[in-house]
């Protein structure tokens, strides 16, 4: 492949993302009420964690391992946006694509089908972010968060939520690809969710975990999809550490992309389609 050809392909892919993203955004705009209701439904989870850990902080004289009800509120309110950013194409969708034979059509597409999922969800997220702002305002009024964001932290946060979306989407895709062999992946996905819940900062800030769980977390991509973006906004460390964090996110994107590429190639060879 020549250098000019590669540049052309990157440019074409960029144009595809812009077009597909815009289309999905428009689509999402027509279902505003439905996606807002979904977002409100997703609020229960972090509000429960916030209430429980705030109660613990108060019963210990105002803070638990350095977290006060105020910083916990900041953590879990930011959590709500990060969680929304994290939504990607779920493995259950692959079961549907496989059993209905729709995967066949996707394999005929001129570019790798993962781009269609990434662009589709990416475009929708722009609408979700806009919808999140008033929801967050209500949460701020209800729970009085305290945080000290820095300009560098905000910048890193804005980049890292997109990186988190890509990392999680890649790993969800990887689980989804298992359906090429097993037709079902929901039990595996449940297992993934359990690990994610405990080791990502989704259930509690990682500093509240016992040491052995925290060291286990280092081996997985989970914390780079929850803990890192949240802390970049509400408790940013020094700038070099933030940049290093973005570097680790890039690394996990690389690992995920490589795994998807390799497994996809084997999955395609394996694929026969139900009814084919």
């Amino acid at each position: 492949m020549t250098a000019g050809g590669a540049a052309g392909r990157v440019r074409a892919l960029g144009a595809f993302y812009a077009a597909a993203g815009r289309q999905s955004m428009t689509q999402q705009l027509t279902y505003r009420a439905s996606s807002l209701l979904l977002m409100v439904g997703m609020l229960t989870e972090p509000v429960i964690y916030l209430v429980v850990w705030s109660a613990i902080a108060r019963s210990q004289g105002g803070s638990v391992d350095g977290y006060t009800p105020g910083t916990l509120a900041a953590y879990y309110i930011t959590w709500t946006l990060v969680r929304n950013m994290n939504v990607g194409y779920a493995p259950a969708g692959f079961e549907h694509r496989i059993t209905t034979g729709r995967m066949s059509g996707r394999m005929l597409l001129p570019i790798h089908p993962i781009h269609y999922d990434l662009a589709g969800f990416g475009g929708a997220k722009i609408v979700w972010i806009a919808q999140w702002l008033p929801v967050a305002a209500v949460l701020v009024l209800l729970f009085h968060p305290t945080a000290h964001p820095t300009p560098a932290g905000v910048l890193v946060f804005l980049v890292s939520i997109w990186a988190a979306f890509v990392i999680r989407s890649l790993f969800l895709w990887l689980i989804g690809l298992v359906t090429f062999w097993t037709t079902r992946a929901s039990a595996l996905f449940e297992l993934y969710l359990l690990f994610e819940l405990l080791l990502s900062g989704r259930l509690v800030p990682l500093t509240l975990l016992p040491q052995w769980m925290r060291s286990a977390a280092g081996w997985f991509p989970f914390e780079w999809t929850f803990s890192f973006p949240i802390n970049a906004l509400i408790a940013p460390g020094p700038a070099p550490r933030l940049l290093a964090g973005l570097g680790v996110q890039a690394l996990w994107i690389g690992v995920g992309a490589l795994l998807v590429a390799v497994v996809w190639r084997r999955a395609v060879r394996r694929f026969t389609g139900v009814g084919a």
Partner: protein, 259 residues
């Protein structure tokens, strides 16, 4: 007679489900995982404190058991039947049920049950018993009151969700209600007293899931006053009566697909 009919419905559904053995095995894995999550969460909380809003670890195990039981009941009997009713009202296909000679409310309340969720009911009851034994101090006399309040809690959840589904006779579009409810139901994992005032009122009166789960657990951990169970029983009876009333009014409105 009606009870025998309901039992027959459920038996048929169970036989149908038992054809898929591998799937059943996966269900067991999923149920065990979700119980594991609850246990690990409790362990993390009790690393920090000895009591949460007056509840100790064993008592919260009882609550987790009641939660799992009622959540299993909801996923087995209430939610799938409410959703099926919603679809039938929207599409006008309810006629097929109404034409049958037996009581239609009973039929729409059992026909689409997901029997394998009964597994969660069993796991929940076992967890409740474990918690009760661990926390000691539970008199045998508390058990019948507990059983009654648990049934009342189940009846309350049934009335609440069924009434919403029945209201589709008037407001046809209610698609996202199920997801919203599943999200809110999670709040009942913790004692309702833990929540700030406005949420506590919401979870007791407006959407009474907090009341339905917390109160039976309070009875079994001997922290309920006599007024609580009586109020729950009254609330549940009123809920069931209201559901029946709404169903009759709704049917009068319904004209079916072919009418």
């Amino acid at each position: 007679m009606n009870i025998r009919l309901a039992a027959l419905y459920l038996r048929l559904l169970l036989l149908n489900e038992m054809q898929y053995r591998a799937n059943f095995l996966l269900r067991i894995v999923t149920s065990v995982l979700s119980l594991g999550t609850a246990v690990i969460t409790l362990a993390l909380v009790f690393r920090q404190v000895q009591r949460l809003d007056g509840w100790d670890l064993d008592q919260l195990v009882v609550l987790a058991g009641v939660y799992t039981t009622l959540s299993g009941f909801t996923q087995m009997l209430v939610m799938p039947n409410a959703l099926a009713l919603l679809t039938d009202i929207q599409e006008g296909t309810l006629d097929a049920v109404l034409l049958k000679p037996a009581g239609a409310l009973l039929a729409v309340s059992v026909r689409s049950s997901k029997v394998w969720q009964g597994l969660d009911v069993a796991i929940g009851l076992a967890t409740t018993a474990t918690g009760a034994v661990l926390s000691g101090g539970v008199g045998l006399s508390a058990v019948p009151v507990f059983a009654v309040t648990l049934l009342c809690g189940a009846a309350l959840i049934y009335s609440f969700l069924m009434s919403i589904a029945i209201s589709a006779f008037w407001f046809v579009k209610l698609d996202n209600v199920a997801e919203l409810f599943s999200g809110l139901f999670q709040a009942a994992r913790w004692p309702v007293g833990l929540y700030p005032g406005w949420m506590r009122i919401g979870l007791t009166v407006v959407i009474p899931i907090g009341l339905a789960v917390t109160l039976p657990a309070e009875v079994l951990t001997s922290r309920a006053t006599g007024a609580g169970p009586a109020a729950l029983a009254a609330f549940a009876a009123a809920g069931l009566a209201f559901t029946r009333f709404l169903w009759r009014r709704g049917l009068r409105r319904y004209s079916g697909a072919s009418a």
